[in-house]
């Protein structure tokens, strides 16, 4: 039995939390922006997966990290635009379109994977570029913290930077105000001359780009290849983190960190005798409980 104190006193446990929080934070910031505009982005999972794939392929073919980054973002943009066009312009149900995009992404990446690389499971025959790890000299002096915060991936630092950017975007810019206006009361937003669809589309696109960055961390962060369905439900967990954290950046960040702690703990506990399946189900139990308590307490009369 692994001692819990051993786990908690080991800096690598916390470093793992920071590392695994990268894709989750980026995607849940995306979920937050979309949700503020009143258009839940259920396609995060598929967008992450597609960016992870195209980032790897483009960077492997061009032998350039920057081109890979552009490729990954471009594919996130493409899927977001498909989502916007069909749901906003052609009035499709946005949830169903998003689910279709997830299916499309899972199918298309697997299809192209075998078409491009001739392999069924992963692209390990391609050597893609990898986002660098960054070493901060000034952190060296802090003994415990340095082991946690230093030498993380460039995308990890970007993820935390994105939290501040999103915070500023929502709080300090006119766009943030418009976003909330459209999400809370579309009729009122129209009456003051805002284009609801345009703002919703912007929100979905920003949301998709953030998720795309998160996806690329999976295939180009520490490893340099893509595996089938490698997002493994992170897009859904990001939605859960957003639901748990409500409409505040801080709340969503904290709940993303909570889920990351769960994930990090599950890696540590795999060595102990606690069944992995139980540990993995914790985030979902947590989300369900919080959502139901929230629904019970707030007692919405909307439906009734």
């Amino acid at each position: 039995m692994v001692n819990l104190i051993d786990i908690l006193s080991n800096p690598s446990f916390y470093a793992t939390i920071i590392r695994v929080s990268t894709p989750l934070l980026l995607a849940s910031m995306g979920a937050l922006i979309a949700s503020l505009a009143g258009t839940p982005n259920v396609a995060l999972e598929g967008i992450m997966l597609f960016s992870a794939f195209s980032g790897t392929i483009v960077s492997a073919l061009s032998q350039s990290l920057f081109m890979g980054l552009l490729g990954g973002l471009a594919s996130a943009l493409l899927l977001s635009i498909i989502l916007c066009v069909f749901s906003l312009k052609y009035k499709a149900n946005i949830i169903l379109t998003a689910i279709a995009i997830n299916i499309l992404s899972s199918g298309l990446t697997a299809f192209l994977l075998s078409a491009v690389s001739g392999q069924k499971g992963n692209t390990s025959s391609f050597q893609s570029a990898v986002f660098p790890q960054i070493h901060f000299v000034f952190l060296e002096k802090l003994p415990f913290l340095s082991e946690i915060l230093n030498n993380q991936n460039a995308l990890t630092y970007s993820a935390y930077a994105s939290v501040f950017v999103v915070f500023l975007l929502i709080r300090k810019t006119p766009f943030g105000t418009h976003l909330k206006a459209v999400g809370e009361n579309p009729e009122a937003a129209v009456s003051v001359g805002l284009s609801v669809n345009k703002i919703k589309a912007m929100a979905l696109i920003i949301s998709g780009l953030l998720a795309g960055l998160g996806g690329m961390f999976l295939s180009m962060g520490y490893i340099s290849w893509f595996t089938r369905d490698m997002t493994g439900g992170r897009g859904w967990i990001a939605l859960a983190a957003q639901a748990l954290g409500g409409k505040s950046v801080i709340g969503v960040t904290l709940s993303a960190l909570l889920f990351s702690t769960g994930e990090s703990l599950s890696y540590s506990l795999q060595m102990a005798n606690i069944p992995n399946e139980l540990v993995q189900s914790i985030p979902f139990v947590m989300t369900i409980v919080v959502l139901l308590v929230y629904l019970k307490v707030s007692d919405h009369r909307e439906r009734l």
């Binding site: 839940p40 259920v42 498909i82 069909f86 312009k89 052609y90 009035k91 499709a92 149900n93 949830i95 169903l96 379109t97 689910i99 279709a100 995009i101 299916i103 499309l104 899972s106 199918g107 298309l108 697997a110 299809f111 192209l112 994977l113 075998s114 078409a115 001739g118 069924k120 439900g233 859904w236 939605l239 859960a240 639901a243 069944p275 399946e277 139980l278 993995q280 189900s281 979902f284 139990v285 989300t287 369900i288 959502l291 139901l292 629904l295 019970k296 007692d299 919405h300 909307e302 439906r303 009734l304």
Partner: protein, 376 residues
């Protein structure tokens, strides 16, 4: 048969053809070999290989060409019918909730949990065959309905809140299901993660011993008729449709909204709960899924293609199962990945749900004209 030729079904057929065309082009593209001497040669060979693959894809559930002769492909035909069963059931489950305007997307988890619970009964209980199978199906249905309770509760509290709760339930049902399976009925002697063999009395009647064609689809077809009757011919069905088209109006006209929303979701959960178990007791004789088979997600596309009409659900499930089995054969004998089906599915959902697309007045008028001409 007038309704089968309605504008809506022409639209469905057009979109299916579009999806197949995209898949075809994608396959040609994936076969283009840049290294060949001339572009034209490369293109011809890509066409040939794609045509071969698509021939298998679209015909193999029926026929098998063996040394120049065409045979009936009983093996794939049985697979086709077997795969249709779960798709009809999840399609019905999703049609029910969609009819009430609820986005309860938990069919996948309900199906998985139902299958695990049914497997427990299949392993531990010993009864005469008929009773045993009935009990297994009932327990699966009950478990599925149980998994639907929380999303149903959420849906009566706040519109659309059932989406996230049901999605989370899918993961929860999967992880807990796998946990219980591993903990209590794991076959320790087998290298793979699978349950011990089910008790012999649990095995579902087969049409064909050799091809393991089971009777599940009879059950599914009967259920489709029952649900069609409930939705289209009873007062209850009328209430559900009213709730689906305008829940405020339904409430004002005296319908007990909460009660009906919960009833329809429990019924849907119960049906979804039985979707997976037939494959286990009819075909495999043990629980052997290490990942969720996805029938619940497929139910969404089945329901959308059938435009929520239980009578069309078997048809649209049969179509989906057909391209599935065809794609599996294609994946086995050619280098085209069976994941092509997912792409086709996604395109169908995207275009079918886009109500503003191919559904404009102009388009419908021109179709009406076409039909007028062909009849006149």
């Amino acid at each position: 048969m007038k309704s089968l030729l309605s504008i809506r079904s022409i639209r469905v057929l057009a979109i299916i053809l579009l999806a197949l065309a995209v898949a075809y082009l994608l396959t040609i593209f994936s076969h283009l070999d840049v290294k060949t001497v001339s572009f034209f040669e490369g293109l011809t060979s890509a066409f040939d290989r794609t045509n071969d693959a698509f021939f298998l894809f679209l015909t193999s559930p029926f026929i098998r060409v063996f040394s120049g002769q065409i045979h009936f492909n009983m093996m794939s035909f049985s697979q086709w019918l077997n795969q249709t069963t779960p798709l009809i059931l999840t399609g019905l489950a999703i049609s029910l909730v969609f009819s009430a305007g609820v986005l309860n997307l938990g069919a996948e988890g309900q199906m998985f949990a139902g299958a695990v619970a049914g497997s427990f009964i299949a392993v531990f209980v010993s009864l005469p065959a008929f009773l045993h199978i009935t009990l297994i199906i009932l327990v699966s249905a009950f478990t599925g309905a149980f998994c639907s309770v929380l999303p149903a509760y959420a849906s009566v509290k706040k519109r659309n809140s059932e989406i996230l709760v049901s999605l989370m339930m899918n993961y929860l049902a999967f992880y807990l299901g796998i946990y219980f399976m591993k903990r209590f009925i794991l076959d320790e002697t087998s290298g793979a993660v699978m349950s011990v063999k089910f008790a012999p009395s649990s095995s579902f009647p087969l049409f064909s011993e050799r091809y393991k064609l089971h009777l599940g689809f009879i059950f599914a077809m009967l259920l489709a008729l029952i649900i069609w009757y409930l939705l289209k011919k009873t007062r209850w069905g009328l209430k559900i449709k009213m709730i689906g088209s305008n829940s405020n109006f339904a409430e004002y006209s005296g319908i007990h909204l909460k009660k009906q929303l919960i009833t329809v979701q429990l019924l849907s959960g119960g049906i979804a709960g039985t979707a997976g178990i037939f494959e286990l007791i009819g075909f495999h004789g043990r629980f052997l899924w290490s990942s969720s088979p996805g029938y619940g997600w497929d139910g969404i596309i089945v329901a959308i293609m059938a435009s929520k009409n239980p009578l069309y659900v078997p048809l649209s499930a049969a179509f989906l199962a057909y391209i599935r089995v065809g794609a599996q054969n294609m994946g086995r004998y050619t280098d085209v990945s069976p994941d092509l089906v997912k792409i086709i599915q996604a395109i169908i959902i995207i275009f079918l749900t886009a109500e503003g697309l191919f559904a404009s007045e102009n388009f419908q008028n021109s179709i009406k004209k076409l039909r007028g001409n062909s009849h006149g």
